[in-house]
Amino acid sequence: MTFLHQYPKAAKVARANFIVAFIALAIGGLFGFIQALHRTDVFRGFFNSGEYYSVLTGHGVLLALIFTTFFIAGLFVWGVTRSLDREPENMTFTWSWFWIMTIGLTMTAVTILGGLVPDSSIRAAVLYTFYPPLQAHPAFYIGLALVLVGSWLAGADWFWSYNKWRKNHPDGPIPILTFMALFTMLMWYVCTIGLALEVVGLLIPWSLGWVTEIEPLLPRTLFWFFGHAVVYFWLLPAYYVWYAILPKLSGGRLFSDAMTRIVFVIFLLLSTPVGYHHQYADAGISVGFKFYAMATTMLLLLPSLMTLFTVVASMEHGARQRGGKGYLKWIGKLPWDSPAFVGCALAGIMFAAGGFSGMINAGMNINLIIHNTIWVPGHFHLTVGTATALTFMAISYWLIPQLTGRKLKFKTLALIQPYAWFLGMTLMSNAMHRAGLAGVPRRTAEPQYSGFEFEPIFGTMAEMDWQIAIGGTILTISLTLFLWVITASWMGGEKADRPVDDYIPEPLSGAEHTPKILDNMKLWFALALILVLLAYSFPLWEMISDGIFEPGALPRPS
């Protein structure tokens, strides 16, 4: 018996979410390959440099917003259903959120791809931050709003299951797989207030022409109200895998249930009031609020540093149970031949490196040395592009068999895949960081200028371009391997009653030792809202007190 046989309805929903996620991953990944060759001037024959920005928008939206959201939905359907031992409460409701998200995604994707059709009036080359006054087709914003509403309903679905479960289990802690999913969604509800206000309150009416002028700083600020917490919305599901599943894949047990819960509580509290750290270089926001955002951001290092300890300690427990010895020699006893383990572990190592560049980003003044340079995508290709994406790919090797009832095929290719990703990302990301230090901007089709040359401190521009192009190519090969292994296993893997060992052992220090207050969702949710009010109410008031759309700028076509 595996998940498919116990919960066939939930398995079907999870599979549907994964299919959409993987299609988005395939198209978005292909766009990334085109960009890596175009930017570095290795090959510019796919599209012209004006169309580059539609490709870039597609890359960002499909990977950062669509792949992640759908994968997370599938993962949480699996985790909540399994740990509460109940199918979703009402399948019509469950399928309705899936279809709302899918319709929204399709609308948004069509407007982006329209930019690649010559003379198309349907365009959305506004990148995934869509700052006005650059204006996309209204369907771009409406589609995004639908994805957002769908994700809210998905969260409601899991809370519904939890409340029903709670009626039958009045005492005892929330099962950890459900706890982490619900706290991630609570954070999502807090931060998406900003996005909903921006998209529904400002951008949709403006793109439909109901108002002509818009104040650029207000939607930008609302975007970043959402825009940093969203990175934790991508990251926490990777933590979900690292805390709940990776210890077992390592041959051990989760070190501490209580630590896991504390980490998720801190993320709920601090993820949103940090948004100004994306606006250190903005006029219109006082230094005091920038400092508040920096202090909060630096405090957010704490849960990630705690995660480092708990997750590595869980892996070390596994390695020692497998016979590992010594201070560091035990690392060799970890299952470096298991694709799911290897992907998660390498993702964790890359996240440690990305953590460092994130600390630089967070430093209020040192941020200026790399603000809007290619250092920044270098950073988030380590975090969302590896910590999250590689973890998702790796755990698919373990989840998809449970959802399809079929064994994994091509295990050797599956094992090569995470190593290849690690290699490709090492090449690409180190070069992006170094190029950023030289001042090379991000989001640019042709980062070479007629009037001056960049002067890199480490390496040469040509060498960095080649590392980006070769790294991007290796990443594309790795992605192709992943899609091939998953598709082949899904369609033709050997059917089995237990296609994978899906048992998850209890933590070493279990929930019986965990303080009950950590499960108090109302308390933490209320505190999170208060912290957001402290951070945002005054600056937002300053921006809207002279009129919501004032000082107004006119829309510009994208």
Binding site: S49, Y53, Y131, L134, P216, L217, F255, S256, A258, M259, Y280, A281, D282, A283, G284, S286, V287, K290, M294, A295, M298, L299, L301, L302, L305, M306, F309, T310, A313, A362, G363, N365, I366, N367, L368, I369, H371, N372, T373, A438, G439, P441, R443, T444, A445, E446, P447, Y449, G451, F452, E453, F454, S509, H513, P515, D546, P551, G552, A553, R556
Partner: protein, 172 residues
């Protein structure tokens, strides 16, 4: 609650690390003159012609008996005014205050390879002061996506010796 001794140590170390990061940022801000821009003033992006941005360029001002310069820059799709068609020429070792804004969309104003880096947001005036220590040319890059020809948007700053600074090109 069971927290291993080592993990307690690690959490304490983490707090110290966080405090250390914040302390270095504050130290740099206060003692090393490594500032960030703040809230200066809003402006109507559709009527820049009635403001100093209407005649963008370098102006001389006197501040406490010391000669300083102000530079008003408009960032437009896809040029810096001034900066693109003619370089922004300023003297070295002199306080220069930049005022940057945009009449159309968001742009970036990044003096490549330096710590001068700001957003140009329609409706907001970015104001910052600096001193160029070296005589040399710098490139200016728009580092915020601003439309289909974003990649051609560049400019130049020409820093000349204080003694050779030609005041005939000043505006006003």
């Amino acid at each position: 609650m069971h927290i291993h001794k080592f993990e307690r140590w690690w959490i304490r170390i983490s707090y110290v690390l966080i405090a250390f990061f914040i302390a270095t940022v504050v130290y740099g801000f206060v003692s090393m003159d490594l500032k960030v821009i703040g809230n200066y003033q809003t402006i109507d992006p559709q009527n820049l012609s009635e403001t100093p941005f209407g005649t963008p360029g370098v102006r001389e001002v006197t501040n406490g008996g010391v000669t300083e310069y102000e530079v008003y820059v408009q960032t437009i799709q896809f040029a810096f005014l001034p900066g693109t068609s003619s370089p922004i020429t300023v003297p070295a070792d002199t306080r220069i205050t930049f005022y940057v804004t945009s009449p159309d969309v968001l742009h970036g104003f990044d003096v490549a390879g330096t710590n001068l880096n700001t957003m140009a947001i329609p409706g907001q005036v970015a104001k910052f002061t600096t001193i160029f220590p070296e005589v040399r040319e710098y490139g200016i890059v728009c580092n915020e996506y601003c439309g289909p020809a974003h990649h051609i948007m560049e400019g130049k700053i020409n820093v000349v010796p204080k003694s050779e600074f030609d005041k005939s090109n000043l505006v006003e």
